[in-house]
Structure formats: C-alpha cells, structure tokens
Amino acid sequence: MHCLEFRERAGQWMEGEQVAELAAHLEVCPRCKVLVSELEAIRATAGGLPEVEPPPHLWTNIRAQLESEGRIRQRSWFAWTGEAFFSLSKPAMAGAYFALLFAAAVWIGVQASRGPGAESALGKESPTVVLVRTDAERFMSGATAKIRVQDPIVAASYRENLALVDKYIALCEKTIREQPLNELARAYLYGALQQKAELVASLMERGTVGEE
C-alpha cells in the first residue's frame, strides 16, 4: 500500500476497523505512524475541551422574549407560594414574595422616571416606590443573612455573585446621581436589581434556613 492510499483510509483505522493492509503498512511506514499518532492527539485534545457555562443573563433574555410573546405565563405569587406552601418555610415564602415585589417596585420606579416629563434622578422616584424598595431591600438583606447553603462552593458562588451585583448596583446609582439623564445607567440598574431579586429567590429555593 502506498502512503497516499493510507492517508485516505486512515479514518477507518481511527474508527478502530482492523484492516489487514492498513496494519501491514503501519508496520513498515514510520511517516504514517506519525500521522496516526497526530490524528489521535487531535482527537484526545478535542475530547478534553471543557463545556462552557452560558452567561447568566442568557436565560433572563430568553424568558423576557418568551414573556413578551405571551408563550409563558409568569406564575402569580399566589400560585407560586400555593404550590410550595407545604415545602417552604414562611420566611422563604415571604422572601420570594418580596423578591417579586422588589423587582416590580423597581420596574415601576424606572418606568415612572422614564415617562414624558418625569424627573430622571433616583431621588425623584415616587415616595411609595422608594419606601417599598427600601423595605424590600432591608428584608432581602435580613433574609439572605439567615440562609445557609450546605455546599460550600455553591455558598461561595452566591456570596460572590451577591457582592458583585451589590457593587454594580452601587456603581449604577452613583452614575445616575452624577448624570441624572443617563438612560443607559438606568437600564443597567434595572437589570442589576432584577438580577439581585432573582439571586435571592434562587438562594431561598436552594438554601436552608438556620433555626436557633
């Protein structure tokens, strides 16, 4: 067998087909032996390429699109808590409710400030919205502090993500205070607050609550 023919049929060898003429050629041809070892190295390296975690906002984007198309129904808080009533403790149930309320309150605040002629600074949000957000934020911080996640890696990941989101929220708020008309910062703030609400809700779903 000529090397050229071996190269064309090397795929059979790589598939584990025991073809006598291919084996015979490999016995006598160091160049084709190198070819096979290189193809095997390519296969092995490719097999070691890790799977990659998609960015966290991908699901948020998909869900938002599906909601806008009316393909998924957002569970009402009543249905949400009703289904989980017997499995969740009261703080978790209340926490989930507050997480939703928190997102809703922020949404109202942002939308209100976007309206025609509305004031754009954070400080100009309606007093009710500010009050609800402050209460919800205080509740979420308190509830978050009580939750324990058994897996230390997961717990660390939650801590890290919450710290990151908090930092991001502070940065957005600072930017908006300095540049009240910065719509991009406002949109980012809205996204960050939603993410925090989602994180806390997820933490409550996965975690345990310490009871003295």
């Binding site: 190295a41 390296t45 097999g47 990659v52 998609p54 699901w59 998924i72 403790s89 996965r206 609550v209």
Partner: protein
C-alpha cells in the same frame, strides 16, 4: 447548635418539565433550559468561536425550541430533537455567513485555490511536537468549513456517535465518518502550518539576535 432545615426544591424530571412547559409553565421552561444550556451553548461556542455570537445562537435555538415545544410528541428523545434544532440553527447561520447561496459541497469541500494551506509537492510533513495546544486547536477548528466543523465538534468534542450525528445532520453514517476524517486531516494541516510559522519566527528572532550581537558589542 443551629438546626438546619432543607427547603424541598423539587427538581422536575425532564418528561414532567416538558409536559408543564407545553402548558406555558415558566419554571418548567427554566428547568429545561438548565438541563441543556451548557451543552447547547458549548456547541454554539465551538462552532462560531465567539461568545457574543454563541449567545445569540443559543438564544435563537432555545426560543425556537420553546415556540415549538407544544408540537413535541415524544416519538424521539427530547435531547435529539433539541440538538437537531441547534445544529440547524448553527448551520443556517454559518451558511449565510460563509457563502451566500452556496451548495452543501462548497461548504464541506473548500475551493482548491483558496482552501487549506498548500505545500509544495515532496515537502516533508511538519511533525506536531508534544501535546497539541487547546488554543491552537480551537483556532484551527475556527478555520474549518462548517460541515467538517460540525461533525468534528459533535464527534470529537461533544462525544456523539456517528449514528447520532447522522440523525442530527440528516446524512448517512458513512458521510459522517468521511467528513470527520477530512476534518481531522485538515486540522492537522492547519496545526502544522501554525507550527511552521512558530519555527520560522523563532529562526528569525535568533538570526536577528545574532545580527545585533556585534552592534551590541561595540
């Protein structure tokens, strides 16, 4: 000591999640997404080599899935159904990008004039030294024609068997095997090209250092 009580988070089985998603349950959609998102996103990323575009493709694939989920009747495995959809979304995008209105042959058999790296007849193969660098391999994969790339990524990266690839891509098992072999051979050529370029740069750096030596000594 604080007593901990576990919240009962019910992880829906895939079948139940599909049934609930068909009724529009948001949590069921999310469960399906969480079950498959890593694999889907990784396939998109390996195929386009660009995180933003991979995200866009994964989003498109999941949106198509959720828009059609009410038509899923369970005759085939759900994962096969989903991955066939992802493969189609990715190939459609790559075909649009690569050659407008091109035939399948053009996408798998590149033009001899502009195809893979060409070498003079009789030039010895460059031996790939040591283990293959993952970054170089990904760069080489990025240069494969879409058809080769899809079979290579599905088989060698994601671990699908040829019969599964044939189902996903709507081709024969023999075609899948042949495409895979051609993909690996082209990757080898591309990696050898990288190796030759690295060696050339090394030689150039050495000769420059040698050329500069007397001037430095002055």
């Amino acid at each position: 000591m604080a007593r901990a009580r576990r919240f009962e988070t019910v992880e829906l089985a895939e079948g139940e999640a599909i049934r609930r998603a068909q009724r529009g349950d948001s949590a069921a959609f999310e469960r399906i997404y969480r079950l498959h998102s890593r694999r889907v996103y990784s396939l998109c990323l390996r195929m386009v080599g660009n995180p933003a575009e991979a995200e866009d493709l994964a989003q498109e694939a999941f949106l198509q899935l959720f828009r059609k989920i009410h038509t899923f009747r369970g005759e085939s495995a759900f994962s096969t159904w989903l991955h066939r959809l992802v493969v189609n979304v990715v190939l459609m995008r790559l075909r649009k990008k690569a050659v407008p209105e091109s035939s399948l042959e053009e996408l798998t058999e590149p033009d001899e004039e502009s195809g893979g790296p060409r070498r003079d007849v009789g030039e010895p193969d460059t031996v790939l030294t040591g283990s293959i660098d993952r970054v170089n391999l990904q760069r080489a994969v990025d240069q494969l024609p879409p058809g080769y790339k899809m079979v290579f990524v599905l088989h060698d990266v994601q671990g699908y068997e040829h019969n599964e690839i044939a189902r996903l891509m709507g081709c024969s098992i023999g075609n899948s095997k042949s495409q895979l072999h051609k993909a690996r051979m082209r990757l080898r050529e591309l990696l050898q090209e990288t190796e030759r370029e690295r060696a050339r740069q090394e030689r150039q750096a050495k000769s420059e250092a040698a050329g500069n030596a007397p001037a430095d000594a002055k």
